[in-house]
């Protein structure tokens, strides 16, 4: 995915990070390359241990890559110590200085940069207003709530106007309602400040709702980079499809290509059109994924047929688990209405029709 030079805020080129020595060597990052655009809300998404925090720490300068380059606006920053990088971090545990007030915390970065007192004061006031913490500026950080600490941590990292803001699972310590509030707050701050945000999370829903683009990571590698829509609807690999949302995997024989789509013949004998990951030429056999909400259950014949095994009610929708005649399982998500039930019962013989643009061929 080549970018125009100068457009990318951060460019990671062939970065490896190896921990330990000799036998116990572990590659936390295995030759990762990614380009993050200016003014973008970019998310590194993956399960714990996938290397997302390691990548963030390399960009911040808390660790140094074993190989590769990290460019900030075209300049290699990989060898610079953290205090020489115009990049700030919001830490998972906030890491607020307990011996300073809220205002002193926010002003710390500017003070270290040697800004004049008047400028620091004005900027701190501005930041306090931005995160709506004016009333608590003289409090100790131990005297404010978790959500307020989160705001202070954000203001502290934003105050020196970094080129890039790194956020290391900053919402994980907050309860559900506060987390939802902060998600909206973060989007607002990113929009108002125009700073590039690199956000690390293991929460796929959070990633989908907040990001401009997402990089899905697993075992030290970036598997796919794309918009939330791309990642959700056009997963390139099994891991991506499985990690993000629920999905159905079907084995199929590829019988032809046309218009950028593959003709996939399912085990049931039905043939459907399926989109294909960029630059991938499927062979004879492939895995096809269909999201549960993109399939429809019918009492007649469909693309697939099977028996209803279980019905789970979720309020907004109902999940109907079907055992296909080919012995695979398939889940259909059906929107609920007030007036009627889902219209099916356990043990019913059913057909499943797959929409015109519902299937995607995986790369594996």
């Amino acid at each position: 995915m080549p970018e125009q030079p100068g457009r990318s805020a951060i460019e990671v080129r062939g970065v490896r990070k190896v921990f330990g020595t000799g036998e116990s060597q572990v590659a936390a990052l295995d030759t990762v390359s990614v380009s993050i655009r200016e003014n973008e809300f970019f998310t590194l998404l993956g399960p714990s241990g996938c290397g997302k925090t390691t990548l963030l720490r390399l960009i911040a300068g808390f660790d140094f890559p074993s190989a590769g380059e990290i460019l900030l606006h075209g300049q290699d920053i990989a060898p610079l110590p953290p205090f020489k990088r115009p990049v700030n971090t919001v830490f998972q545990n906030y890491a607020l200085f307990p011996h300073m007030t809220v205002a002193e915390n926010i002003g710390f970065g500017l003070e270290m940069l040697g800004k004049p007192k008047a400028e620091v004061k004005a900027r701190v006031a501005e930041m306090l207003k931005l995160v709506k913490m004016e009333a608590l500026s003289n409090r100790r950080t131990s005297q404010i709530s978790g959500g307020q600490q989160q705001r202070v941590a954000l203001a502290r990292a934003l105050a020196p106007q970094p080129k890039v803001l790194l956020l290391d699972e900053p919402l994980s310590a907050l309860d559900f309602k506060l987390r939802k509030e902060m998600q909206i707050e973060l989007k607002r701050l990113q929009h108002e400040t125009g700073i590039t945000f690199i956000f690390v999370t293991h929460d796929q829903e959070e990633a989908l709702t907040m990001s401009d683009r997402i990089a899905v990571m697993s075992s030290g590698k970036i598997l796919q980079v794309g918009t939330p829509w791309d990642i959700y609807d056009k997963p390139a690999e099994r891991f991506v499809a499985d990690f993000i949302g629920e999905t159905n995997f079907l084995t199929a024989a590829i019988t032809g290509m046309g218009n950028g789509k593959a003709r996939a013949t399912l085990k049931s004998g039905a043939t459907i059109d399926a989109t294909v990951a960029e630059g991938f030429q499927p062979k004879d056999n492939a895995t096809v994924v269909v999201r549960p909400e993109h399939a429809k259950l019918t009492s007649g014949k469909g693309d697939l047929s099977g028996t209803v095994e279980n019905i789970v009610y979720f309020g907004t929708d109902t999940h109907i688990h079907v055992r296909l005649d080919s012995s695979e399982t398939f889940t259909v998500r059906q929107q609920n209405t007030r007036s009627a039930g889902c219209g099916f019962e356990r043990g019913d013989k059913v057909g499943i029709s797959i929409g015109n643009d519902a299937a995607q061929v995986l790369r594996d």
């Binding site: 300068g61 808390f62 953290p82 205090f83 971090t89 200085f97 011996h99 270290m112």
Partner: protein, 268 residues
Amino acid sequence: MASRFDIRRQTGFTTIAMICFFALYLPIVTLVVYAFNSGNSIAVWEGVSLRWFYQAWNNNQVVDAAIRSLQIALVAATVATIVATMAALATTRTKPYPGLGFKYAFINQPLMVPEIVTAVALLIFFSRIKIWTGYSGLGYLMAAHTAFCIPFAYLPIRARLESMDLSLETAAADLYATPWKAFRRVTFPLLWPGILAGLMLAFVISLDDVVITEFVKSGGQDTLPTYMLGQFRRFITPEINAISTVFLLISILIVTVFFFISRKKDHE
């Protein structure tokens, strides 16, 4: 459900506790009481008086020894605390590596080597230096005290550093603080109670030392403890009790301050 195990309900607990308290404090109470004896005996009570406190105050030998003790303790505790702070930083702000355990042992060595061995070794070592240099001042005592004070200062400082959130220093570096500025603005202010605790512990340990001082001191370099020991070889008057009582008060004062500082650390 059975009630939780509570040591206070165990048979004989109160009795044992009382015996321990008496064994610990009864001798000290006796010592303090006889400091106020108006007679010449440390065992026969004759009446209340501050006579022995006056006498000790006017005894030049006592006052000189006390000043000497304070001088040595002040220098030894200060130097030991500085060294211990640096040692604690070096041993905690690093990734564990082979040989780190050996370094801990090396720093804490004075706690493990029998004091009498250190004392004899220093006596022989310093006597050589005395011959070579001709210097025979308080420097030897200060150096010796500094050496055995280091582990005592080191322990609370290291404990404080280990309980400190490492991400605070990382955050300081992230916010453009150079390593020195990060130390001065973040690490040091948070480490301060540990350093003060180390300083006071070292001070009390130095003030109290007999064995090494007895071996290392030159003529006329008695500290308060060695002076008191010397008095026991002659005749004992309640003057000793009076000096001990003042000594005790100073120690209690320091320990109290120490307690409040370490308590403050927990409430932060």
